[in-house]
Amino acid sequence: MKHQSIPYSREHERYLRKCRKRAVLVWTCRIGLLVLLLGAWELVAALGWVDPFITSSPSRIAATIAGLYADGTLFYHVGVTLWETLAGFFLAVFLGTFTALALWWSDSLRKVLEPYIVVLNALPKIALGPLIIIWCGTGSEAIVFMTVLVGLIVAILHMLSAFIATDENKVLLLRSMGANKVQILTKLVIPSALPAFISMLKVNVGMAWIGSIMGEYIVSKAGLGYLIVYGGQVFKLDLVMSATCILCLLAALMYFLVVLLEKLLVRNGRT
C-alpha cells in the first residue's frame, strides 16, 4: 500500500536525505578502498619495496591481460572455464533438486539413502580426481563431472531440508480440501521452497567455481585454472594474478545474476 498522493512531511524528507547520504558514503568507501589497495600495491612494487616478480602489480596484470587479449587466447581460456562451470552448475542444480524431490516424495527412500548422502557430503571430492580422469578422460567432461560432484550433494541437502520444512498446518489445510500428494507438491511444497532454491543457487555459484578450478588443477589443457597452474609452474606470477582477477570478476558477475533472478522471482509479501 503506497501513499503517493500524500506529500511527505519535512521530517520524512530529512530521513530520506539521510538514507541517500549514507548509501553514497558506503559506495564511496567501497570504491575508495579498492583504489587505495590497488594504488598501494602498485606503489610498493614500483618503489621496489617488494619484488614485483613475486607479487606482480596492477599495471603488470593489466599488461598481461592485454597480451592475452592481443594473441587471442583470453576469451578462449575464459570461455572454456565458463562453459565447464555453467554446465556443472546447471547439472548439479537440476539433478540435486530432482533428487531432493524424490527423497521428499518417498520417506522410505530417504531413510535408505540418508547414510550414503551423509558420507558423500563429507567426502572431499578431490580424492576422486584419479578415478575421474580414468572414467572421463582428460577433456572438459572430467572437469564438468568434478563440478557436478562438488555441487550435487550440497544442492540435494539444501533443497531436501527446505521441502521437509514445509509448514505442517498448510499441508493439513490442503489435505482438508482433499488435495493429493501431487497437488500438495505443486501448490505448496515447491512454491514455498523458492527462497531456499535461490539461496541454494547462491551457495552453488561458489561450489561450481571450486569444482571447475579444482578440476582444471587435476587435468586440463585450457582454462583459467590451467593458466594459474601453468603460471605457477613456470613462475609467471603475473599470469597467476591475472587469471585470479578474471576469476574474481566472473564469480561476482554470476552471483549478481542470481541476485537479479531473486529480485524477479521472490517479490510481493515475502519479507
Binding site: 500500500m1 489445510l173 482433499g178 501448490k187 512454491p191 523458492l194
Partner: protein, 244 residues
C-alpha cells in the same frame, strides 16, 4: 432436522514409537443441519483430533464417523494464507484442489469477497492485510468450495483481543447469513457461549463428552449476547464443568 455429521462411539488412539495415547474415548454426538455447535475442553484434551476425525483426515480406531457424503471446510488457528499468492488466488485454492473449473464458482467467490469487504483487496498480497482481514479472507477461502459443514479449529485464538471480538462478529455474521452448519473448537468459554447454539464439554484426555447444553439464545449477534443476562450464568456453569 436431519443429522449432517454423527460420531458413534468413536475411540481414537495415537501411535508413536514411545507408546500409544488414547486421544478420544467413546465419543458420541451428532450435528444437525444449520446448527452452530461449539466444543470446549481443557487444553491438550484432543479437541483437534476430534475435528480431524470429523473431516475424515483420521480414521477412528473404534466406532464410526458418519457424514453422509457432506463436504467440509476447515479453518485453522492461523489464516495459513499462502504469501506468494494474491488474496484472490488464495480464495481460489479450494476450487483448484477440487478441480472446480469454469467461471461460475470463481464468480461466486468474488461475490463473497465483495459482500464481506474484501473486494478492494483481491489483488493485494496477504502481507498487506491486517490480522482481522486475513482471518476473514481465510473464512471466505473455507467457504469457497461451498462446503456443507465448517470445522473451525480455534480460529480466533491467534488474534489480539479487540480484533478477536470484531472477527468473531464477522465470522458469526457470515456463517449465519450463508446458512452453514459449523463445529467450533475452542478453549475460550465466552467465545463458545457468544457464538454457538449448543455447547459440548469435553473431559481431560482421553476426551469424552461430559455434557451437552442447548443455550437457547434467540439473539445471534455475539457482542450483544455477551451483554445478556443469561451469559454469565452459562459461563459459571461451563467453567465449573471444565474444571471438574
Amino acid at each position: 432436522m436431519k443429522h449432517i455429521l454423527s460420531f458413534d462411539d468413536v475411540t481414537y488412539i495415537y501411535h508413536t514409537r514411545r507408546g500409544e495415547t488414547v486421544a478420544a474415548e467413546h465419543l458420541s454426538f451428532s450435528l444437525d443441519e444449520g446448527e452452530f455447535a461449539a466444543v470446549i475442553g481443557p487444553s491438550g484434551c484432543g479437541k483437534t483430533t476430534l475435528l480431524s476425525l470429523a473431516a475424515g483426515l483420521l480414521t477412528p480406531s473404534e466406532g464410526k464417523v458418519e457424514s453422509g457424503g457432506a463436504s467440509f471446510g476447515y479453518m485453522l488457528q492461523k489464516d495459513e494464507l499462502f504469501p506468494w499468492r494474491t488474496v484472490e488466488k488464495n480464495l481460489y485454492l479450494p476450487l483448484e484442489i477440487k478441480k472446480m473449473k469454469g467461471d461460475a464458482p470463481r464468480k461466486r467467490v468474488r461475490a463473497l469477497a465483495e459482500k464481506y469487504g474484501l473486494g478492494g483487496f483481491l489483488q493485494s498480497y496477504p502481507a498487506q492485510l491486517s490480522g482481522g482481514m486475513r482471518q476473514r479472507a481465510a473464512l471466505i477461502r473455507t467457504l469457497a468450495a461451498d462446503p456443507d459443514v465448517l470445522l473451525l479449529d480455534e480460529p480466533f485464538s491467534a488474534l489480539d483481543y479487540q480484533t478477536r471480538l470484531n472477527v468473531t462478529e464477522d465470522v458469526s455474521h457470515i456463517i449465519r447469513s450463508e446458512g452453514k452448519t459449523a463445529l467450533l473448537i475452542t478453549h475460550d468459554i465466552s467465545e463458545a457461549i457468544s457464538l454457538a447454539d449448543r455447547v459440548l464439554v469435553l473431559t481431560r484426555r482421553p476426551a469424552r463428552i461430559r455434557s451437552t447444553h442447548s443455550l437457547g439464545f434467540s439473539e445471534k449477534n455475539p457482542l450483544k449476547r455477551r451483554e445478556m443476562s443469561g451469559f454469565s450464568a452459562w459461563f459459571e456453569l461451563l467453567w465449573k464443568e471444565l474444571n471438574a
